[in-house]
Symmetry: C2
Subunit: 388 residues, 2 copies
């Protein structure tokens, strides 16, 4: 197993999944789960959402991978521009990594500069320039990166340092969601300071909304802060599991975006775009973000109650819709892994090192099943690790 | 429009496609075409092939983008390994660029070296290290590339030069298919010499079969030459238009492939894999390569006859299934573009600068329509450019 799926290579996490529906899935051994991973983010309206599937099927009957795009590309671009405040245009691709890489390339083309500032430990994809593990990566792949600390504007000034006039962009996640660490919400002052610093030095601000996009807000994740960003990579949830990524940007970066050469054999695939348009439309009409936030808050309340009841010191961090559960004094993740195994055994699909995802498809029954299973997991964990 | 689709931004090439079926497609204005571009390669059994669609739909009813792969991934990997002589394992991705980049990363991880030899002008994708246009690309992105000339083993030795013990891989296309140039078949001696040179210096031989894979041969494109390759990137035609890419390799590179971190949110998508498995199976059971070769040979005979009849000196190069038509003394492509416009006006979808693709779905009626339209295009071109 490779990539993030390799993080599943732990006892009691099922490797192969047979089928899914709504907020439930079944592994190849027939075990049923309430899904709190949502395919690592893409599934936002629920597995096999009927409205999205119908839109995809309608396009599929016409054609998918064609000699040029189908008209749906224009409709989808217009929907992205209408939905995201900082989007004056949109381009489409297949991977989140395509989109983050494109943003860097566009920023470099626009500024004629080469350096990119990246938060230490942040995940922006799995190309050689950004993959978190160095096998097969050369020094040249990282030669134009400078590292800062999330939520620390002084570290950005220090990282740019003498290179400030050669910085093409600062790329930052809407909140710190590094796998294996507590999540950290963005300090609104930091967000505003990053914007101001980009303006000061003439660099682009790239908000990497690949993981969080459309789960925290109907538009870009920093829109509620009133912080304008220049370029945004999107992927994961924008087409409810169909393979779609996007880049949106402001007019200032339009010419640069039009001047770079990026492409892929399937980037014009019309079915994925139809699914994307339906997803964006349904997210709004169902007020899905509010529903996910509400479900996430109930989940947090229930889990923190269970942890207290069973006497566990947990770190439950991140936004309600994308919670991250770690245990105190658990640097080898032994408690996390054991808890995950107990949760999976009780029909709750969670992960020991990566943030979870709540979908809008969760019913109250799904939430009950999740909370019951997780409470049972805490109990079983306590039996295995008796209190001193 | 961006990427290769930008090469469509020419008079009389329709930009937006409404629908497709078999070897035909229709633009948004309702014009019907015989398709000789096959969506730039992906469509190999024909648009909307019923067997592939049925396999995809069967998987779709179970689930697509899941928390882990579906069992279809194992079946597909086994089919790739059974079909391709030099494949001991397979990994899957979404873009041809993902696959070419992965091969370089695997070769670097395996050898602990950094340099990659690339043929001048060859297309291996659209990431910063390989995109054919330099906007937004930095010198560091290309710092570890050395260039050689296709079919020229001496140029490989010269390019490696003093770096020979730091060469991780040589990446080469099965034939030279650079857009805008005459195609050039591989000299079998060159292929054998490249293999021997890789063995001599301890580098991996990467055969970039993204564009030609499964159109020239049921296995790898150099299998008929008896030349073993180490790593092969695949994409385009392996799933008849569904978004799938793959890397296959030999046992020697298995550990390195397992040790790199590459991933994408949709790389485990089960529907695309089901389409891939059905495509590979159907290609064999329909003897599709022979059919495409036969169609391509009839096309070549007809087109060369038309060119002679109308007095045009054309360069009709490349394998029969992937022909490339350019005109002599046409460095600004004026004749090519005018010919394409006349062909499109007669219902034949071809391209003025990029090789074409023949699909196995072409019927004799499709071939007749193509030949009639292209002959008419030569005639109309002669009317616009009277012989001196």
């Amino acid at each position: 197993m490779y990539g993030h799926q390799n993080m599943n290579a732990l006892p009691a996490i099922p490797q192969y999944i047979a089928r899914s529906r709504g907020a439930r899935l079944w592994d190849v051994d027939g075990n049923e789960y309430v899904d709190l991973m949502c395919s690592w983010g893409p599934v936002i309206l629920g597995h096999g959402d009927p409205v999205v599937e119908e839109a995809a099927e309608r396009q599929r009957r016409q054609g998918d991978c064609l000699n040029g795009p189908a008209p749906i590309m224009v409709e989808l671009a217009e929907a992205m521009v209408a939905t995201v405040a900082d989007a004056d245009w949109a381009m489409f691709a297949k991977n989140g990594t395509d989109a983050t890489t494109m943003c860097c390339t566009i920023a470099r083309a626009a500024t004629g500069r080469k350096m990119i500032l990246v938060a230490e430990g942040a995940y922006h994809g799995a190309a050689p320039w950004c993959t978190p593990f160095p096998a097969g990566v050369t020094a040249a792949d990282r030669a134009n990166l400078l590292q800062f600390q999330f939520n620390d504007i002084a570290s950005i000034r220090a990282a740019a340092g003498e290179h400030a006039d050669d910085v093409a962009a600062i790329i930052v996640s809407p909140f710190r969601h590094d796998a294996g660490f507590d999540s950290e919400l963005v300090d609104p002052t930091f967000a505003k300071d990053v914007r101001a610093y980009c303006d000061e030095i003439g660099a682009a601000l790239i908000l990497d909304d690949v993981r969080a996009g459309f789960r925290l807000h109907d538009g870009g994740s920093w829109e509620p802060l009133g912080v304008q960003v220049d370029l945004t990579p999107w992927s994961k949830s924008i087409a409810n599991g169909y393979a779609l990524a996007a880049v949106t940007g402001t007019d200032r970066y339009r010419d640069a975006a039009g001047g770079i050469f990026v492409t892929g054999s399937f980037w014009m695939g019309a079915v994925d775009m139809a699914a994307g348009l339906a997803t964006i439309t349904e997210l709004a009409s169902r007020d899905a973000v509010s529903r996910m936030r509400d479900l996430g808050q109930q989940l947090r309340t229930g889990i923190l109650g269970g942890a207290t009841r069973w006497g566990f010191d947990v770190h439950y961090t991140g936004p309600a819709q994308m919670p991250n559960l770690l245990f105190a004094n658990d640097s080898d993740y032994a408690l996390s892994v054991a808890f995950t195994a107990e949760a999976q055994a009780r029909g709750v699909y969670v992960h020991p090192k990566h943030n979870w995802f709540v979908s809008a498809a969760m019913t109250d029954a799904d939430l009950d099943m999740a909370l019951t299973g997780l409470d049972g997991a805490f109990g079983a964990l306590r039996a295995r690790y008796p209190q001193p």
